[in-house]
Symmetry: C2
Subunit: 577 residues, 2 copies
């Protein structure tokens, strides 16, 4: 072990990159390296696979994409003077690796390959990457720095433990760690424990921003060797987090416990030092950096939804969004999120009354649009309902009205929103929540028609909490109390209420949490006190609705188990519980 080195000034670049847009990502990374240098940082750390954005999915199966990504990395490397930068990229060697390049003096000086490849939940990394060879170091001046990538540090032990045993005083962890509610707090606790275990400074740099169904929450961290968070970036916002760290304090602390010294704790013989880099000049300063406040749990989800929507709209080139405003709580929440993500002038609401629409509900919808300051169109659907009745008169001659006619109304509304989308280039936002999506209480091509399903992963009870949270923000309540208080109804037939067809939402949401998120069986749920008849009904509804979910638009994952890549169930499924 070397004698205690000086402090280091580091910059964690928490950026919102775009999957596949190599040129834009390179420009942003190069500009950020310049900013970091200007801020006196000696090391700039970027998120996992920063060159390509995360997750690039099957773009990684294209030779030319991998070639272009490498060329982009080399361009970035050329811009690295007077600072060391660590930038993730997919390395095409004899195989393909999820890699971290260490750039200095205009060159790629070292490449570390990710050891643990997540292949659960939303992750498919075994589809693309070969496993790396284990831990590795670079030295930065006197400081041995251990290299890891994301999942590598979620596992206790190697490679980080090996690196610490080999002398690493700093361990970097560039990540692409997607958000779900409360994950940030758990992640921070985990990294703090790792820092204590390894008696090393931990630099966790996460992406921020939306990519299809995922939102990266940022919340990058600098944690000292005692597990104290000495700098923290904001959640859901880009930030260049600049901090001063004291690797010497970690080295000094190890003197007090011989068991932590490399010779004793070495668990494998060869943790290579890939490069020995001169420490660039850095600005002096006190140890630590800015520490952002954490959002409370509901505010955090709200911020995730705003961030996810804003990025989906921007990165897919939309200027404007449109949504149906029913006067119910779900579309009210989506309107709020759209307002906060895009501004009132980029949101249009459409009120689409039918003969079954209650006057108060429609009035609430209009009042809400006015209160939010968003444009509202009014399109009555009755003429279209009559036309379908006429066209279908012959085949339906001997039948009674049923759910068919309800679905036609929903589909007319879907068609009208899509017509506005086609004519004016607007993105249609759907407004269904996770409780409905779970049990199939929705109409394919009707209320499920649209490009982005903002709250598809938000259970109904959380919908209420989110609206109350937003209503409490400065400026006063935007959603009228009547919308919060009205019993939920699809208003597709006279006096319809959701609770005619479904268990009360508090019970429904509890069953869904147990069944969908925790994969509990019927008996476990009943033992936990949930009503057996409701449990049986909900299980059947969830299983049968898989075909609808398969055709639903993408939406923002905020739970531990979002429908989509996160929960891959067969449609054809004979399993009964």
């Amino acid at each position: 072990m070397s004698p205690a080195p000086d402090t280091l000034r580091v910059a964690l670049a928490q950026l919102d990159l775009t999957v596949g847009d190599l040129d834009a990502n390179a420009a942003k990374i190069v500009a950020t390296i310049g900013e970091a240098r200007a801020a006196g940082a000696q090391l700039a750390l970027f998120g996992e696979l920063a060159v390509t954005g995360y997750p690039p999915e099957d773009l990684l199966l294209k030779e030319h994409f991998l070639r272009d990504a490498r060329a982009t990395l080399d361009e970035i490397a050329a811009a690295t003077r007077g600072i060391v930068a660590m930038v993730g990229f997919p390395e095409r060697a004899e195989d393909v690796y999820n890699a971290l390049a260490v750039l200095a003096d205009g060159e790629v000086r070292a490449i570390y390959r990710k050891t643990y490849l997540p292949n659960y939940g939303v992750f498919d990394e075994h589809r693309y990457f070969q496993t790396g060879e284990g831990g590795a170091l670079v030295t930065l001046g006197e400081v041995p720095v251990g290299l890891t990538i994301c999942e590598d540090m979620w596992e206790p032990g190697p490679p980080a433990a090996d690196e610490a045993a080999a002398g690493a005083l700093v361990i970097v962890n560039p990540s692409a760690s997607p958000y779900h509610a409360t994950k940030g707090a758990a992640r921070e606790r985990m990294f703090a424990q790792r820092a204590r275990d390894y008696v090393a400074v931990v630099l966790f740099c996460n992406h921020v921003g939306g990519q299809d169904e995922l939102v990266f929450d940022g919340h990058s961290l600098v944690i000292d060797h005692e597990g104290a968070v000495i700098a923290r970036a904001a959640q859901f916002e880009e930030e260049l987090l600049v901090a001063t760290i004291d690797p010497g304090a970690a080295a000094a602390a190890r003197l007090h416990d011989a068991g932590h010294r490399p010779g004793v704790r070495r668990t494998r013989p060869d943790v290579p030092t890939l490069a020995r880099l001169a420490a660039p000049p850095g600005a002096a300063g006190p140890v630590g950096g800015p520490v952002a406040e954490l959002l409370d749990p509901v505010a955090e989800v709200y911020a995730a939804l705003v961030c996810g929507l804003r990025d989906y709209v921007a990165k897919n080139g939309f200027g404007h969004v449109v949504l149906g405003l029913s006067g119910g709580i779900d579309s009210a929440l989506v309107a709020l999120i759209a307002l906060d993500a895009l501004g009132a002038e980029r949101v249009t609401a459409v009120v689409m009354p039918s003969p079954y629409s209650a006057g108060e509900t429609q009035a609430d919808a209009r009042a809400l649009a006015q209160g939010l300051g968003i444009a509202a169109l009014e399109l009555g659907i009755e003429p279209a309902m009559r036309a379908y009745d006429e066209v279908l008169a012959a085949p339906f001659a001997d039948t009674q009205p049923d759910i068919t006619e309800e679905n036609i109304q929903a589909r007319i509304r879907g068609n009208l929103l899509m017509a506005l989308s086609n004519k004016f280039g607007w993105l249609v936002l759907t407004t269904g929540n996770k409780s409905e999506m779970s049990v199939g209480y929705s109409t394919l091509y009707g209320d499920l028609a649209g490009g982005f399903a903002v709250i598809k992963d938000v259970p109904k009870m959380l919908v209420y909490a989110l609206v109350r949270h937003r209503n409490a923000a400065p400026g006063g309540p935007l959603v009228p109390a009547s919308i919060l208080e009205r019993a939920p109804s699809a208003e597709l037939r006279p006096d319809q209420r959701d609770e005619d067809s479904l268990p009360p939402y508090p019970v429904l949401d509890e069953i869904l949490e147990a069944y969908v998120e925790r994969d509990q069986d019927r008996d476990q749920m009943v033992r936990a006190g949930l009503p057996a008849d409701a449990v049986d009904r909900v299980i059947g509804l969830v299983d049968r609705a898989e075909y609808k979910r398969r055709q639903a638009p993408p939406g923002i994952k905020i739970s531990t188990r979002a429908f989509g890549r996160d929960r891959r169930m067969p449609i054809t499924n004979g399993y009964g519980a």
Copy 2:
């Protein structure tokens, strides 16, 4: 090595099982064991994960599902008397394994764990399973039998090579090998080479039937130690393939080449013999068994589509299907497939003319329905078109007709088909082909509305070939020549033709094959002689249409790269080639 043993009589149970339906699968497996015993077989081999069906996807993340699967296996074991059965199941031990149980005397006598877990294409096995420990044997009387599962034998070398070196004269390979065009022939060549390499009899038992987007093609094989196919089950049909094999001949052949003897070729020290089973009594008979003829390449695809549709309908409990018949070639093909899969009385066609529908096209649609003997409804969409014009008059006041009005027509048709589906419980079949699906030449919630997209993986030129193939079947042409000859048109505006918007289909299909299936870049395609302007256009169209494909119904994979689980592209994607 033992002296040459007697012949063995084996039964390969090529079954159509249902994912998740443990009781039904068990009943079928137990009945088949009885049939195999009655046919004098000493060994009955079933497909991969036969107990659960394949792929069970995230059902494997439920403890209770794994527990129920094990209980089901034990029930099956109890029925195993006077015969040895090999049955795949997911083994819940300290981890989860894709396993093969060897059942005899009413008990589970041995369990082999799959070594190679595919995690590419449609496969996600690293999501669920831990890797097994390598090759293993059981002896059946005098005969050492090597155990493998599916992917294990697609890799040259261990575990099969180890097993052969350890003396295996027979290697079993229960599989779930999904179909794509021409795969069966390549697979047969591969297994024949393995049999020659290992000087062992190979028993390949595949599933048959459809599971959501996959079709298993059967084509189970008994291959002798010289690589000759001595028994072959039919493609796309259930079959109990009973054959007599001669392990002694394999042993005798090895005498002629000392290099093949276990002591010399052993590559790892421990290939355990998991169980020594008495050989049950078997019927005598000449070596070999029935050898089914292989279908030609176009007939094979047609059979796959019929099989996939039949199973999706049956396993999801539908009695009847409905489709829009336009008078074009795509819907004609889907009608033929539905006819062959379900019979005329279970198919309803709907002709939905608009003012832009040519009289001849409509006449062709009616004539086709009549020729097929399927019921045809006629629903003119003009009243609905007028209603949308009325409802949208205000917002569209200052606009010109464009693709919006075309999409409205398509969506009215989609709504009408869905109304019939809702009212009568019919499954809506969509009729779009892969060429359209690739470039987004289709309307979300319009022609893309439906439960099953029968030909979504069939390129346009193959659509023609399939119709010609079916027209050549006994009974004379069912599709009128005018449908085959007419220039493709969506008929959504006057005198519209597909080639106004797209390259000619022969060129388009060639570009799509290069871009979608082989992931070539622009320059490779242009160097191969494809027109640069068309290549550029098609790449842009394919990339931009990802959002439509994400909401398309499931359909049958027949290519090496089907949209869906097989090609996982981001919607938000800044990569430009």
